[in-house]
Amino acid sequence: MNALSVENLCVKADNRHLIENITFSVEEGRIIAIIGPNGAGKTTLIRAILGLIPYSPGSVLLFGHPMKHANSHGKVGYVPQKLEFDRTFPLTVSELLGFTVPPIYSFPFIRKKGEKKHISELLESVGVHELADRSIGSLSGGELQRAMIAKAIVNDPKILILDEPASGVDIEGQERFYDLIKRLNKEKGLTVILISHDLNVVYRFADSVLCMNRRLICTGRPAETLTDEVIKTVYGEMMGAYIHSCHEHD
Protein backbone atom coordinates (compact mmCIF):
# COMPACT_ATOMS: atom_id res chain seq x y z
CA MET A 1 0.00 0.00 0.00
CA ASN A 2 1.15 3.54 -0.68
CA ALA A 3 1.78 5.46 2.51
CA LEU A 4 1.93 8.70 0.55
CA SER A 5 0.70 9.59 -2.93
CA VAL A 6 1.45 12.98 -4.40
CA GLU A 7 -0.09 13.91 -7.74
CA ASN A 8 0.57 16.87 -10.01
CA LEU A 9 1.54 19.06 -7.07
CA CYS A 10 2.17 22.70 -7.95
CA VAL A 11 3.08 25.53 -5.61
CA LYS A 12 3.12 29.09 -6.87
CA ALA A 13 4.29 32.36 -5.38
CA ASP A 14 3.87 35.69 -7.16
CA ASN A 15 2.67 33.83 -10.27
CA ARG A 16 5.91 31.87 -10.40
CA HIS A 17 6.07 28.12 -9.95
CA LEU A 18 8.13 27.10 -6.95
CA ILE A 19 7.42 23.48 -7.78
CA GLU A 20 5.56 22.14 -10.76
CA ASN A 21 3.70 18.90 -11.46
CA ILE A 22 5.42 16.75 -8.89
CA THR A 23 4.04 13.22 -8.89
CA PHE A 24 5.38 10.36 -6.82
CA SER A 25 4.35 7.79 -4.28
CA VAL A 26 6.02 6.10 -1.33
CA GLU A 27 5.30 2.54 -0.33
CA GLU A 28 4.60 1.83 3.31
CA GLY A 29 7.72 1.02 5.33
CA ARG A 30 10.18 2.43 2.80
CA ILE A 31 12.73 5.22 3.09
CA ILE A 32 12.72 7.77 0.30
CA ALA A 33 15.30 10.53 -0.04
CA ILE A 34 14.56 13.77 -1.84
CA ILE A 35 17.58 15.41 -3.42
CA GLY A 36 18.17 18.52 -5.48
CA PRO A 37 20.26 21.69 -5.47
CA ASN A 38 19.55 24.67 -3.23
CA GLY A 39 16.37 26.38 -4.37
CA ALA A 40 15.08 23.21 -6.06
CA GLY A 41 11.88 23.36 -3.99
CA LYS A 42 12.55 20.38 -1.69
CA THR A 43 11.43 22.15 1.48
CA THR A 44 8.52 23.69 -0.42
CA LEU A 45 7.45 20.20 -1.48
CA ILE A 46 7.60 18.94 2.12
CA ARG A 47 5.72 21.97 3.43
CA ALA A 48 3.03 21.54 0.78
CA ILE A 49 2.69 17.84 1.63
CA LEU A 50 2.31 18.76 5.31
CA GLY A 51 -0.33 21.37 4.53
CA LEU A 52 1.83 24.23 5.82
CA ILE A 53 1.57 26.09 2.51
CA PRO A 54 -1.23 26.00 -0.06
CA TYR A 55 -0.87 24.21 -3.36
CA SER A 56 -2.91 24.28 -6.51
CA PRO A 57 -3.49 22.12 -8.39
CA GLY A 58 -2.48 18.80 -6.97
CA SER A 59 -3.41 16.21 -4.39
CA VAL A 60 -1.71 14.67 -1.39
CA LEU A 61 -3.06 11.40 -0.05
CA LEU A 62 -1.93 9.71 3.11
CA PHE A 63 -2.85 6.04 3.07
CA GLY A 64 -5.47 6.94 0.47
CA HIS A 65 -7.00 9.79 2.48
CA PRO A 66 -6.53 13.54 2.04
CA MET A 67 -3.66 14.68 4.20
CA LYS A 68 -5.70 17.22 6.18
CA HIS A 69 -8.02 14.57 7.62
CA ALA A 70 -5.42 11.84 7.97
CA ASN A 71 -3.02 14.00 9.91
CA SER A 72 -5.48 14.86 12.62
CA HIS A 73 -4.84 11.37 13.95
CA GLY A 74 -1.13 12.05 14.34
CA LYS A 75 -0.05 9.78 11.50
CA VAL A 76 2.77 12.09 10.49
CA GLY A 77 5.84 13.01 12.49
CA TYR A 78 7.87 15.96 11.25
CA VAL A 79 11.34 17.25 11.99
CA PRO A 80 11.94 20.63 10.29
CA GLN A 81 15.19 21.72 8.67
CA LYS A 82 16.05 24.47 11.09
CA LEU A 83 13.88 24.54 14.11
CA GLU A 84 13.16 28.18 14.69
CA PHE A 85 12.55 28.88 18.33
CA ASP A 86 13.61 31.23 21.05
CA ARG A 87 16.70 29.67 22.67
CA THR A 88 15.87 31.43 25.93
CA PHE A 89 12.47 29.67 26.03
CA PRO A 90 12.48 28.02 29.50
CA LEU A 91 11.27 24.66 28.30
CA THR A 92 12.62 21.24 29.20
CA VAL A 93 12.83 18.37 26.73
CA SER A 94 10.19 16.48 28.75
CA GLU A 95 7.83 19.43 28.62
CA LEU A 96 8.33 19.77 24.86
CA LEU A 97 7.46 16.13 24.30
CA GLY A 98 4.58 16.43 26.72
CA PHE A 99 2.86 18.96 24.40
CA THR A 100 2.30 16.11 21.95
CA VAL A 101 1.26 13.38 24.39
CA PRO A 102 -2.52 12.93 24.48
CA PRO A 103 -4.80 14.12 25.96
CA ILE A 104 -3.92 17.43 24.35
CA TYR A 105 -6.67 19.26 26.22
CA SER A 106 -6.23 18.71 29.93
CA PHE A 107 -5.20 20.45 33.12
CA PRO A 108 -1.47 20.12 33.87
CA PHE A 109 -2.07 18.96 37.45
CA ILE A 110 -4.32 16.05 36.47
CA ARG A 111 -2.26 14.79 33.54
CA LYS A 112 -1.81 11.06 33.63
CA LYS A 113 1.21 9.66 35.38
CA GLY A 114 1.76 7.49 32.31
CA GLU A 115 2.83 10.62 30.42
CA LYS A 116 6.14 10.83 32.26
CA LYS A 117 6.85 7.14 31.70
CA HIS A 118 5.96 7.40 28.00
CA ILE A 119 8.29 10.38 27.54
CA SER A 120 11.07 8.62 29.40
CA GLU A 121 10.71 5.54 27.15
CA LEU A 122 10.71 7.70 24.02
CA LEU A 123 13.89 9.48 25.03
CA GLU A 124 15.44 6.13 25.90
CA SER A 125 14.52 4.78 22.46
CA VAL A 126 16.38 7.60 20.72
CA GLY A 127 19.32 7.36 23.12
CA VAL A 128 18.93 10.67 24.96
CA HIS A 129 17.30 9.63 28.20
CA GLU A 130 19.59 11.94 30.16
CA LEU A 131 18.19 15.02 28.39
CA ALA A 132 14.72 14.83 29.95
CA ASP A 133 15.20 17.74 32.34
CA ARG A 134 17.58 19.76 30.18
CA SER A 135 16.45 23.08 28.77
CA ILE A 136 15.75 22.83 25.04
CA GLY A 137 17.89 25.90 24.35
CA SER A 138 20.96 24.29 25.92
CA LEU A 139 21.03 21.26 23.60
CA SER A 140 23.67 20.74 20.94
CA GLY A 141 22.59 20.27 17.31
CA GLY A 142 22.76 16.47 17.56
CA GLU A 143 20.93 16.34 20.89
CA LEU A 144 18.22 18.65 19.62
CA GLN A 145 17.67 16.53 16.51
CA ARG A 146 17.31 13.39 18.63
CA ALA A 147 14.90 15.17 20.96
CA MET A 148 12.91 16.29 17.91
CA ILE A 149 12.83 12.73 16.58
CA ALA A 150 11.48 11.62 19.97
CA LYS A 151 8.83 14.33 19.71
CA ALA A 152 7.98 13.31 16.16
CA ILE A 153 7.32 9.70 17.18
CA VAL A 154 5.33 10.44 20.36
CA ASN A 155 2.04 9.36 18.81
CA ASP A 156 3.48 6.40 16.96
CA PRO A 157 3.16 7.95 13.49
CA LYS A 158 3.12 5.96 10.27
CA ILE A 159 5.25 8.45 8.36
CA LEU A 160 8.27 10.42 9.47
CA ILE A 161 9.19 13.45 7.39
CA LEU A 162 12.67 14.84 7.94
CA ASP A 163 13.89 18.02 6.26
CA GLU A 164 17.69 17.92 6.19
CA PRO A 165 17.61 16.44 9.66
CA ALA A 166 21.34 16.23 10.22
CA SER A 167 22.40 19.63 8.91
CA GLY A 168 24.71 21.33 11.38
CA VAL A 169 25.49 18.06 13.13
CA ASP A 170 29.04 16.65 13.13
CA ILE A 171 29.88 13.54 11.11
CA GLU A 172 29.73 11.17 14.05
CA GLY A 173 26.42 12.70 15.11
CA GLN A 174 25.06 12.30 11.57
CA GLU A 175 26.06 8.65 11.51
CA ARG A 176 24.30 7.95 14.79
CA PHE A 177 21.29 9.94 13.65
CA TYR A 178 20.79 7.97 10.42
CA ASP A 179 21.38 4.68 12.24
CA LEU A 180 18.57 5.70 14.56
CA ILE A 181 16.26 6.51 11.63
CA LYS A 182 17.07 3.16 10.04
CA ARG A 183 16.35 1.36 13.31
CA LEU A 184 13.00 3.12 13.72
CA ASN A 185 12.18 2.23 10.13
CA LYS A 186 12.91 -1.46 10.80
CA GLU A 187 11.41 -1.73 14.29
CA LYS A 188 8.28 0.34 13.84
CA GLY A 189 7.77 -0.09 10.11
CA LEU A 190 7.96 3.68 9.77
CA THR A 191 7.82 5.16 6.29
CA VAL A 192 10.54 7.81 6.12
CA ILE A 193 10.75 10.75 3.73
CA LEU A 194 13.94 12.71 4.09
CA ILE A 195 15.63 15.58 2.34
CA SER A 196 19.37 15.25 2.17
CA HIS A 197 22.24 16.88 0.37
CA ASP A 198 24.52 14.03 1.29
CA LEU A 199 24.48 11.44 -1.50
CA ASN A 200 26.40 9.06 0.73
CA VAL A 201 23.43 9.07 3.10
CA VAL A 202 21.08 8.49 0.18
CA TYR A 203 23.04 5.43 -1.00
CA ARG A 204 23.33 3.97 2.46
CA PHE A 205 19.95 4.59 3.97
CA ALA A 206 17.34 5.18 1.27
CA ASP A 207 15.33 2.56 -0.58
CA SER A 208 14.55 5.06 -3.28
CA VAL A 209 15.50 8.54 -4.33
CA LEU A 210 13.55 11.42 -5.84
CA CYS A 211 15.61 13.97 -7.77
CA MET A 212 14.05 17.36 -8.37
CA ASN A 213 14.79 20.83 -9.51
CA ARG A 214 11.43 22.55 -9.30
CA ARG A 215 10.19 19.67 -11.45
CA LEU A 216 10.58 15.98 -10.90
CA ILE A 217 13.71 14.77 -12.68
CA CYS A 218 13.72 11.11 -11.77
CA THR A 219 12.81 8.55 -9.13
CA GLY A 220 14.05 5.05 -8.47
CA ARG A 221 16.59 3.00 -6.54
CA PRO A 222 19.66 5.12 -5.71
CA ALA A 223 22.22 2.90 -7.49
CA GLU A 224 20.18 2.80 -10.68
CA THR A 225 18.94 6.38 -10.59
CA LEU A 226 21.91 8.44 -9.51
CA THR A 227 23.90 8.18 -12.70
CA ASP A 228 26.54 10.68 -13.69
CA GLU A 229 24.13 12.20 -16.19
CA VAL A 230 21.34 12.59 -13.62
CA ILE A 231 23.66 14.15 -11.08
CA LYS A 232 24.85 16.64 -13.70
CA THR A 233 21.24 17.43 -14.61
CA VAL A 234 20.28 17.94 -10.99
CA TYR A 235 23.35 19.72 -9.68
CA GLY A 236 24.89 21.17 -12.86
CA GLU A 237 27.87 20.37 -15.06
CA MET A 238 30.38 21.11 -12.29
CA MET A 239 29.34 17.96 -10.46
CA GLY A 240 30.86 14.69 -11.63
CA ALA A 241 29.91 11.12 -10.93
CA TYR A 242 29.66 10.49 -7.24
CA ILE A 243 31.97 7.78 -6.01
CA HIS A 244 30.50 6.61 -2.78
CA SER A 245 32.50 4.72 -0.27
CA CYS A 246 29.74 2.55 1.08
CA HIS A 247 27.54 -0.16 -0.31
CA GLU A 248 24.02 0.68 -1.25
CA HIS A 249 21.53 -0.12 1.43
CA ASP A 250 19.75 -3.39 0.86
Binding site: L50, S72, V76, Y78, D86, F89, P90, T92, T100, I104
Partner: protein
Protein backbone atom coordinates in the same frame (compact mmCIF):
# COMPACT_ATOMS: atom_id res chain seq x y z
CA UNK B 1 0.07 48.15 61.71
CA UNK B 2 -0.92 45.92 58.79
CA UNK B 3 -4.04 44.84 60.70
CA UNK B 4 -5.10 48.42 61.07
CA UNK B 5 -4.32 49.00 57.44
CA UNK B 6 -6.50 46.05 56.42
CA UNK B 7 -9.46 47.10 58.58
CA UNK B 8 -10.66 49.62 56.00
CA UNK B 9 -13.04 48.04 53.47
CA UNK B 10 -11.63 50.02 50.54
CA UNK B 11 -8.14 48.83 51.47
CA UNK B 12 -9.40 45.24 51.75
CA UNK B 13 -10.89 45.50 48.26
CA UNK B 14 -7.73 47.09 46.92
CA UNK B 15 -5.65 44.39 48.57
CA UNK B 16 -7.73 41.59 47.04
CA UNK B 17 -7.70 43.32 43.65
CA UNK B 18 -3.93 43.71 43.70
CA UNK B 19 -3.51 40.02 44.57
CA UNK B 20 -5.86 38.93 41.79
CA UNK B 21 -4.27 41.20 39.18
CA UNK B 22 -0.88 40.19 40.56
CA UNK B 23 -1.58 36.59 39.59
CA UNK B 24 -3.74 37.11 36.51
CA UNK B 25 -1.56 39.58 34.59
CA UNK B 26 1.74 37.69 34.93
CA UNK B 27 0.02 34.38 34.17
CA UNK B 28 -1.29 35.74 30.87
CA UNK B 29 1.86 37.82 30.50
CA UNK B 30 3.96 34.66 30.16
CA UNK B 31 2.35 34.05 26.78
CA UNK B 32 2.86 37.72 25.87
CA UNK B 33 6.57 37.55 26.75
CA UNK B 34 7.22 34.16 25.15
CA UNK B 35 5.43 35.20 21.95
CA UNK B 36 7.10 38.65 21.99
CA UNK B 37 3.73 40.37 21.94
CA UNK B 38 4.32 43.28 24.33
CA UNK B 39 3.41 45.79 21.67
CA UNK B 40 0.15 43.91 21.10
CA UNK B 41 -0.89 44.26 24.74
CA UNK B 42 0.01 47.95 24.60
CA UNK B 43 -2.21 48.39 21.52
CA UNK B 44 -5.04 46.57 23.27
CA UNK B 45 -4.85 48.77 26.36
CA UNK B 46 -4.87 51.87 24.20
CA UNK B 47 -7.80 50.60 22.15
CA UNK B 48 -9.60 50.13 25.45
CA UNK B 49 -9.03 53.86 25.91
CA UNK B 50 -10.95 54.45 22.66
CA UNK B 51 -13.66 52.13 24.00
CA UNK B 52 -13.90 54.15 27.21
CA UNK B 53 -14.24 57.36 25.22
CA UNK B 54 -16.99 55.85 23.05
CA UNK B 55 -18.74 54.53 26.17
CA UNK B 56 -18.63 58.00 27.75
CA UNK B 57 -20.03 59.55 24.58
CA UNK B 58 -22.85 57.02 24.29
CA UNK B 59 -23.54 56.97 28.04
CA UNK B 60 -22.96 53.22 28.43
CA UNK B 61 -20.90 51.33 31.00
CA UNK B 62 -17.24 52.22 30.45
CA UNK B 63 -15.88 48.80 31.40
CA UNK B 64 -18.19 47.13 28.92
CA UNK B 65 -17.47 49.57 26.09
CA UNK B 66 -13.71 49.25 26.64
CA UNK B 67 -13.96 45.47 26.67
CA UNK B 68 -15.94 45.38 23.41
CA UNK B 69 -13.58 47.75 21.56
CA UNK B 70 -10.46 45.98 22.90
CA UNK B 71 -11.77 42.61 21.73
CA UNK B 72 -12.71 43.99 18.33
CA UNK B 73 -9.27 45.54 17.89
CA UNK B 74 -7.52 42.32 18.96
CA UNK B 75 -9.53 40.36 16.39
CA UNK B 76 -8.79 43.02 13.76
CA UNK B 77 -5.05 42.76 14.46
CA UNK B 78 -5.18 38.97 14.20
CA UNK B 79 -7.19 39.16 10.99
CA UNK B 80 -4.97 41.76 9.30
CA UNK B 81 -1.78 39.95 10.32
CA UNK B 82 -3.09 36.82 8.67
CA UNK B 83 -4.58 38.37 5.55
CA UNK B 84 -1.94 40.93 4.63
CA UNK B 85 1.78 40.66 3.94
CA UNK B 86 2.46 43.34 6.56
CA UNK B 87 4.48 42.33 9.58
CA UNK B 88 2.68 41.77 12.86
CA UNK B 89 4.20 44.85 14.51
CA UNK B 90 3.23 47.08 11.57
CA UNK B 91 -0.38 45.92 11.84
CA UNK B 92 -0.29 46.51 15.60
CA UNK B 93 1.23 49.97 15.04
CA UNK B 94 -1.64 50.88 12.72
CA UNK B 95 -4.24 49.62 15.21
CA UNK B 96 -2.44 51.36 18.08
CA UNK B 97 -2.38 54.76 16.34
CA UNK B 98 -5.95 54.33 15.13
CA UNK B 99 -7.14 53.56 18.65
CA UNK B 100 -5.37 56.53 20.23
CA UNK B 101 -6.54 58.91 17.51
CA UNK B 102 -10.16 57.69 17.79
CA UNK B 103 -10.07 57.94 21.58
CA UNK B 104 -8.73 61.50 21.51
CA UNK B 105 -11.21 62.52 18.84
CA UNK B 106 -14.16 61.17 20.81
CA UNK B 107 -12.94 62.70 24.09
CA UNK B 108 -12.77 66.05 22.32
CA UNK B 109 -16.47 65.67 21.53
CA UNK B 110 -17.38 65.18 25.21
CA UNK B 111 -18.61 68.12 27.23
CA UNK B 112 -16.78 69.04 30.43
CA UNK B 113 -14.04 67.27 32.38
CA UNK B 114 -14.64 63.55 32.88
CA UNK B 115 -12.93 62.23 36.01
CA UNK B 116 -14.06 58.64 35.32
CA UNK B 117 -12.12 58.54 32.05
CA UNK B 118 -8.91 59.61 33.75
CA UNK B 119 -9.43 56.89 36.38
CA UNK B 120 -8.95 54.41 33.56
CA UNK B 121 -5.97 56.28 32.16
CA UNK B 122 -3.91 56.08 35.36
CA UNK B 123 -5.85 53.47 37.36
CA UNK B 124 -7.12 53.81 40.91
CA UNK B 125 -7.00 50.64 42.93
CA UNK B 126 -8.46 52.35 45.98
CA UNK B 127 -11.62 53.19 44.05
CA UNK B 128 -12.40 49.52 43.28
CA UNK B 129 -16.00 48.59 44.12
CA UNK B 130 -17.32 45.20 45.25
CA UNK B 131 -18.86 44.72 41.78
CA UNK B 132 -15.50 45.43 40.13
CA UNK B 133 -13.90 42.92 42.46
CA UNK B 134 -16.46 40.23 41.66
CA UNK B 135 -16.06 40.87 37.93
CA UNK B 136 -12.28 40.67 38.28
CA UNK B 137 -12.57 37.43 40.26
CA UNK B 138 -14.78 35.77 37.63
CA UNK B 139 -12.53 36.89 34.76
CA UNK B 140 -9.41 35.74 36.65
CA UNK B 141 -10.80 32.26 37.30
CA UNK B 142 -12.13 31.86 33.75
CA UNK B 143 -8.94 33.07 32.09
CA UNK B 144 -6.61 30.94 34.19
CA UNK B 145 -8.82 27.83 33.81
CA UNK B 146 -9.03 28.25 30.01
CA UNK B 147 -5.29 28.89 29.65
CA UNK B 148 -4.43 25.92 31.85
CA UNK B 149 -6.81 23.58 30.04
CA UNK B 150 -5.44 24.58 26.64
CA UNK B 151 -1.87 25.05 27.85
CA UNK B 152 -0.44 22.25 25.69
CA UNK B 153 -1.65 23.57 22.31
CA UNK B 154 -1.04 27.20 23.30
CA UNK B 155 2.54 26.52 24.37
CA UNK B 156 3.16 24.27 21.40
CA UNK B 157 2.06 27.11 19.06
CA UNK B 158 4.22 29.53 21.03
CA UNK B 159 7.21 27.23 20.64
CA UNK B 160 6.80 26.58 16.92
CA UNK B 161 3.69 27.23 14.81
CA UNK B 162 4.59 24.79 12.04
CA UNK B 163 5.09 21.86 14.37
CA UNK B 164 1.80 22.66 16.08
CA UNK B 165 -0.03 22.73 12.76
CA UNK B 166 1.51 19.46 11.60
CA UNK B 167 0.38 17.87 14.86
CA UNK B 168 -3.20 18.77 14.01
CA UNK B 169 -3.63 21.81 16.28
CA UNK B 170 -5.99 24.47 14.96
CA UNK B 171 -3.38 27.23 15.19
CA UNK B 172 -5.67 30.02 14.02
CA UNK B 173 -8.39 29.16 16.53
CA UNK B 174 -6.00 29.05 19.48
CA UNK B 175 -4.26 32.27 18.48
CA UNK B 176 -7.62 34.04 18.33
CA UNK B 177 -8.48 32.56 21.73
CA UNK B 178 -5.21 33.85 23.20
CA UNK B 179 -5.66 37.34 21.70
CA UNK B 180 -9.19 37.38 23.05
CA UNK B 181 -8.07 36.45 26.57
CA UNK B 182 -5.28 39.04 26.52
CA UNK B 183 -7.84 41.66 25.50
CA UNK B 184 -10.17 40.67 28.34
CA UNK B 185 -7.41 40.60 30.96
CA UNK B 186 -5.98 43.95 29.87
CA UNK B 187 -9.42 45.53 29.99
CA UNK B 188 -10.38 44.25 33.44
CA UNK B 189 -7.04 45.37 34.83
CA UNK B 190 -7.36 48.93 33.52
CA UNK B 191 -9.28 50.35 36.45
CA UNK B 192 -6.64 49.02 38.83
CA UNK B 193 -3.39 49.73 37.09
CA UNK B 194 -4.36 52.14 34.31
CA UNK B 195 -4.07 52.12 30.53
CA UNK B 196 -0.54 53.42 30.56
CA UNK B 197 0.89 50.85 32.95
CA UNK B 198 -1.18 47.70 32.41
CA UNK B 199 1.32 46.27 29.92
CA UNK B 200 4.04 46.56 32.57
CA UNK B 201 2.21 44.24 34.92
CA UNK B 202 1.71 41.76 32.10
CA UNK B 203 5.33 41.81 31.06
CA UNK B 204 7.64 42.67 33.93
CA UNK B 205 6.90 39.77 36.37
CA UNK B 206 6.90 37.31 33.44
CA UNK B 207 10.21 38.71 32.17
CA UNK B 208 11.69 38.52 35.67
CA UNK B 209 10.56 34.90 35.96
CA UNK B 210 12.04 34.11 32.53
CA UNK B 211 15.39 35.33 33.84
CA UNK B 212 15.42 32.53 36.40
CA UNK B 213 13.15 29.77 35.11
CA UNK B 214 14.47 26.54 33.67
CA UNK B 215 11.08 25.03 32.85
CA UNK B 216 7.55 26.11 31.98
CA UNK B 217 6.27 25.02 35.38
CA UNK B 218 8.95 27.13 37.00
CA UNK B 219 8.19 30.11 34.74
CA UNK B 220 4.46 30.17 35.46
CA UNK B 221 4.90 29.69 39.22
CA UNK B 222 7.64 32.29 39.57
CA UNK B 223 5.85 34.92 37.49
CA UNK B 224 2.74 34.61 39.65
CA UNK B 225 4.82 34.82 42.84
CA UNK B 226 6.56 37.95 41.51
CA UNK B 227 3.20 39.45 40.53
CA UNK B 228 1.74 38.72 43.98
CA UNK B 229 4.76 40.16 45.78
CA UNK B 230 4.69 43.27 43.56
CA UNK B 231 0.97 43.77 44.22
CA UNK B 232 1.32 43.27 47.97
CA UNK B 233 4.44 45.35 48.57
CA UNK B 234 3.43 47.97 46.00
CA UNK B 235 0.03 48.52 47.59
CA UNK B 236 1.37 48.76 51.14
CA UNK B 237 4.18 51.07 50.02
CA UNK B 238 1.76 53.31 48.13
CA UNK B 239 -0.43 53.74 51.21
CA UNK B 240 2.49 54.51 53.51
CA UNK B 241 4.35 56.68 51.05
CA UNK B 242 1.14 58.32 49.83
CA UNK B 243 1.97 57.55 46.22
CA UNK B 244 -0.22 56.34 43.37
CA UNK B 245 -0.79 52.55 43.73
CA UNK B 246 -0.46 51.50 40.07
CA UNK B 247 2.96 53.06 39.45
CA UNK B 248 4.21 51.87 42.85
CA UNK B 249 3.21 48.27 42.10
CA UNK B 250 4.89 48.48 38.69
CA UNK B 251 8.07 49.98 40.18
CA UNK B 252 8.25 47.16 42.73
CA UNK B 253 7.94 44.61 39.92
CA UNK B 254 10.70 46.39 38.00
CA UNK B 255 12.85 46.24 41.15
CA UNK B 256 12.25 42.47 41.27
CA UNK B 257 13.15 42.26 37.58
CA UNK B 258 16.53 43.92 38.20
CA UNK B 259 17.16 41.61 41.15
CA UNK B 260 16.54 38.58 38.94
CA UNK B 261 18.94 40.02 36.38
CA UNK B 262 21.70 39.55 38.96
CA UNK B 263 21.10 35.83 38.93
CA UNK B 264 19.86 35.40 35.38
CA UNK B 265 20.53 31.99 33.78
CA UNK B 266 20.81 33.67 30.46
CA UNK B 267 22.80 36.77 31.21
CA UNK B 268 26.00 36.66 29.19
Amino acid sequence: MITEFLSYPFIQRAFLASLMVGVLCPFVGNFVVLRRMSFFSDAISHSAFAGIAVGALLGIDLSMSSLIVAMLVSLLIAFLSEKTTLSHDTVIGIAFSGAIASGMLVIGMLKGYRVDIFTYLFGDILAITSTDLLFLFIISILSVVILLFFSKPLLQITFNRDLAQVEGINVRLFEYLLFFIIAVVVTVSLKIIGIILVTSLLIVPAAAAKNLASSMKHLFSLSCVFGLVSGFIGLIASVYLNTASGPTIVLVSIGIFFLTMLNSRRTH
